[in-house]
Symmetry: C3
Subunit: 137 residues, 3 copies
């Protein structure tokens, strides 16, 4: 059994940002010599997400507008009594989920032709981490 574990650090310039990490994840799997298995890509923060979808600029705009519609930024969250102002970022993280599992076949990420892995930052401008852990043989 083989494992590969790495931590990706992000410090986005914007409060909200999408970062494509497919190639980084693929490189970790390759370096770890894992030919068959699965790789978990999981945000270690509660105000970020990880998803697999299309790398298309218009769609990004649609996703941000949609997330803002369903989980709007605002002053009215109870969570803000703690001094935080990022209640919306927690809800956005719950909505899109904070992790994905990607299958590994023949040493490659076994993704469909349009599938890319993204780190979605909902409350950036600080150092945050994603764990990438591959497991297999």
């Amino acid at each position: 059994m083989k494992f590969a574990t790495e931590y990706l650090w992000f410090e986005t310039k914007m409060a909200r940002e999408l970062v494509r990490i497919t190639e980084t994840v693929a490189a970790i799997v390759k370096k770890g010599g894992i030919r068959e298995g699965m790789v978990l890509v999981s945000a270690m923060h509660i105000t970020a997400g990880v998803w697999v979808n299309d790398d298309e600029r218009g769609l990004f705009e649609d996703i941000w507008a949609w997330l803002e519609h369903l989980a709007p930024k605002g002053p009215d969250y109870q969570h803000h009594r703690t001094g935080e102002d990022n209640g919306d970022a927690h809800l956005k993280s719950l909505l899109v989920h904070h992790e994905v599992i990607v299958p590994i076949t023949n040493g490659e990420l076994d993704l469909g032709p349009w599938q890319q892995i993204f780190y979605a930052e909902f409350d950036g401008q600080r150092r945050k981490r994603v764990i990438v852990k591959a497991m297999g043989e």
Copy 2:
């Protein structure tokens, strides 16, 4: 360590359709001789979902109405500048997620009594794939 990998092909007659795949996934696990482990069931497309829930016709209607309410089909997505018309299908996929992991115990899918695995097509009438990858012993 044992692995089993198969690709399920779908070409639904309707643009939106639910297909129950519990039995197909269970058969792949059994054929692979995996007694303990996990099986990943993951859509390889960005306009489809995979979920575990109840197999009940009324609930299906509720889910479709709810998805349409939260991520409506419409002409106004930025993504449509590419010539596509399926912006809503991307959002629906993000909402319900494109994959599940099912535990395997004693050679069986270790699901609760009402849990069934579904492939949810949000933009069908073309050939699309789901990867099923089991890993264990």
Copy 3:
């Protein structure tokens, strides 16, 4: 290869309740002697969820209000023709997802500093289960 499988039983007093289970999951991993791997935490019911987020009381209120807004309890679900009255609980489960995978590194749950695992009951006051299955070495 090592596996650890346990079933957690819940019978919440309220119809909706959040139960923190991080420590229980960590103890199962430790008892199973798994130093590297992944642990799946998956509700075996279709009206419950499992998520990873912050353990903060104000945020809980925000999450419940938000879930109620996006998937409201009501008499109008088609699913209720079966005699059930929990259509909203199914939708809430789809929205937040019914499972998470947590990485295991050096025998510990490899979570970020604010990440806690929660069982989210959407239709309680009856006995329900979560499977915890760890896999690794």
